[in-house]
């Protein structure tokens, strides 16, 4: 991997969710699976919710992926979309959108990492530590695409920090 900006780290994947809430744990499960690959230049973090100070964290990376469960109906069971800075502010101190975190990184640290959201469709949000059958299938599809196609694309990119 060749990042033009020497002081930037590589790829950050943030798994977001709560593994005690059934399919809300999709983001963490995805992060677990990716961590098991031990891919060079890929760091993994886990979050219940994104927070203001995550702006500092994402500012240190060239590429950031926000992996989270989604209530949307997704044709393939998952979706990877570019994520741009946006100043929509949530009222709580400890729950920010990915767009706001990127916006704060831009405002405070003058960095704009290439960012994506990875949404994986979930169905069951009740208390429990296992995924629903359909969510499990979506997770495997998302991981297969990410690990075998999307990640390679990112790795081959020469990201300009």
């Amino acid at each position: 991997m060749n990042y033009s900006k020497a002081d930037k780290k590589g790829i950050l994947v943030i798994g977001i969710g709560n593994s005690g809430r059934s399919d809300d744990g999709l983001g963490w499960r995805f992060a677990d699976m990716l961590a098991a690959l031990e891919t060079e230049n890929v760091d993994i973090e886990y979050r219940y919710q994104l927070q203001v100070e995550d702006a500092l964290l994402v500012s240190e990376y060239a590429v950031v992926i926000f992996a989270d469960a989604s209530q949307e109906t997704l044709e393939k069971g998952f979706a990877i979309r570019p994520c741009m800075p946006g100043s929509n502010y949530y009222f709580s101190s400890h729950m920010q959108s990915a767009e706001t975190v990127l916006y704060l990184a831009k405002e405070l640290y003058q960095t704009k990492p290439k960012a994506y959201t990875l949404a994986i469709a979930g169905y069951d949000w009740e208390l429990g530590t296992s995924l629903s059958k359909q969510a499990q299938q979506n997770l495997l599809l998302a991981f297969d695409h990410f690990a075998n196609a999307f990640l390679s694309e990112l790795q081959s990119m020469k990201v300009k920090g």
Binding site: Y48, Q49, V52, E53, A55, L56, S87, Y89, Y90, F91, S92, S93, H94, T100, Y103, L104, E107, L108, Y109
Partner: protein
């Protein structure tokens, strides 16, 4: 026409609350309430669990102050294994203090920079889109960067001793499960990876100076806004100095006379009772001898400045002297001074952290001690938001049979309701209409107490806050919903 205003959700607080304001036919405020509308019942469902699980389970009450619950529960559970605070090893006590002051540092930083600073920087009349940390980042980058860095420093301290920033574990019955390595210590001293503790002290001093200047410039508003007489309570050491980890309970009335004279925390039940109201899940603690109406106390930074004789670190003590001199050394009953008091505690926490990082006891290996089993344990600490009580009783098998939690925000229940009434009477009453700015001032008054409503009710889920205006017929005629 009588009207009723509701603010639901109250924003930039931790948890979900709702404010209702009732007006009479002349537009004058008839009554107002700060409702807490979630309930989870931690005190009940922890029953039947073994005592050693308590310090781990109860920190799930909250994602903001889990450390405080972890340590208060640990102090109570220590007693169940026969260990009083004085019997804990120096290593265990100091590691717990390091975690505790890391928590105070990061929690206060979060409140000031993320939640309160928009009110102070942009004013209570600022448009809603400016009243958030994004606007602070846009207009005061230096302040926002310092806020994030200071919060991160406190969180890194917690992570170093407990393994995780949120819901980590340090305390075990009778001690701690790990020591602190010199490498871990150097991380906070050498400044190679993060800003070091000296920078944290320097920035904390700068923030105290900023706040003092702010008070000079806005004195009348800060003196008057939500000012009302009340009791104040906190913990002090044997010589009357502020003690945020372990001490005796002291309370004073609005004139400074003692209403609770440095009692052992084990005796809290003899002095306190808790009332309930139909319109809130949050209880109302009060001193029995003064009764329900007069016996309630404010807790937290402002109360602690009022009740202690000194702060046992030099820079924070100097700042406290300046603070009390500013108002003629009288008991300070002005809600908005909570922010200044909170920043003095940030400075105190930074000084304590520095002292601890230079203390070789942190690296000791005497981690856990054991004594004779008991059936009851009471742990009280000064959490960021105020006095926090955990009380457990266990059966002969060590299963919890009773749990009572009096959370800091619960002590401030009457104070927050009184503050809401002040705003309702002084800002909203007889104005003929209700503006967003007026409703924001209700929130400003609540926010000064940094309430953690999820802790106070042990609530869960998405927790915004709402305001409603009702007429004399009880009909909803205006509302503001946030979140």
């Amino acid at each position: 026409m009588n009207r009723k205003i509701t603010i639901d959700p109250v924003t930039r607080v931790e948890g979900h609350g709702r404010v209702t304001i009732h007006l009479d036919e002349y537009g004058q405020v008839k009554d107002s309430f700060f409702h807490i509308v979630e309930f989870r019942g931690f005190e009940r469902f922890i029953q039947g669990h073994p005592y050693w699980e308590a310090p781990v389970l109860v920190q799930r009450l909250c994602g903001i102050c889990p450390v405080s619950h972890h340590l208060a529960a640990a102090k109570a559970i220590d007693q169940i294994v026969g260990i009083d605070p004085k019997d804990l090893s120096p290593t265990a006590t100091k590691l717990r203090c390091l975690m505790h002051f890391g928590q105070i540092f990061q929690s206060h930083a979060l409140h000031f920079f993320y939640l309160a600073s928009p009110d102070l920087l942009f004013g209570v009349d600022a448009p809603a889109e400016k009243r958030n940390v994004v606007a602070v980042a846009e207009e005061n980058r230096d302040l926002a960067v310092k806020g994030i860095t200071m919060r991160k420093f406190g969180q890194e301290i917690i992570k170093a001793v407990a393994g995780k920033k949120i819901h980590g574990i340090l305390a075990v019955p009778g001690g701690v499960h790990k020591t602190f390595t010199e490498k871990e210590r150097d991380y906070f001293l050498d400044g190679k990876n993060i800003e070091n503790i000296d920078t944290m002290i320097e920035w904390s001093l700068g923030m105290v100076d900023f706040m003092r200047d702010y008070h000079e410039k806005h004195r009348r508003f800060l003196d008057d806004f939500a000012q009302f007489p009340s009791g104040h309570m906190g913990m002090v050491n044997e010589t009357g100095g502020l003690d945020m980890y372990d001490g005796k309970l002291r309370a004073i009335d609005s004139e400074g006379d003692r209403t609770l004279n440095d009692i052992s925390t084990d005796l809290y039940q003899e002095y306190f009772s808790e009332a309930v109201a139909q319109w809130s899940y949050m209880k109302f603690p009060y001193l029995k001898k003064l009764g329900r109406e007069k016996g309630w106390n404010r807790v937290g930074p402002l109360a602690r400045m009022n009740i202690c004789d000194y702060i046992p670190t030099p820079l924070a003590e100097k700042a406290r002297q300046d603070f009390i001199a500013f108002t003629g050394k009288k008991v300070n009953n002005s809600t908005m001074y909570s922010h200044w008091a909170r920043l003095i505690e940030v400075l105190h926490a930074a000084e304590v952290i520095k002292d601890l990082l230079h203390d070789d006891d942190l690296h000791g290996d005497d981690l856990v001690r054991k004594g004779m089993r008991r059936s009851k344990g009471i742990g009280i600490i000064e959490a960021p938001r105020g006095t926090l009580t955990h009380h457990y009783e266990v059966d002969e098998k060590g299963m919890i049979t009773r749990c009572n939690l009096i959370v800091s925000t619960t002590h401030n229940n009457d104070a927050m309701n009184t503050a809401v009434k002040w705003v309702a009477n002084n800002v909203i009453s007889r104005k003929g209409h209700v503006t967003d700015s007026m409703l924001n001032q209700v929130e400003v008054a609540i926010r000064a107490y940094d309430p953690c409503l999820s802790c106070a009710t042990q609530a869960m889920g998405k927790m915004p806050l709402k305001a409603e205006l009702y007429n004399y017929k009880g009909e909803l005629i205006d509302e503001l919903l946030k979140g």
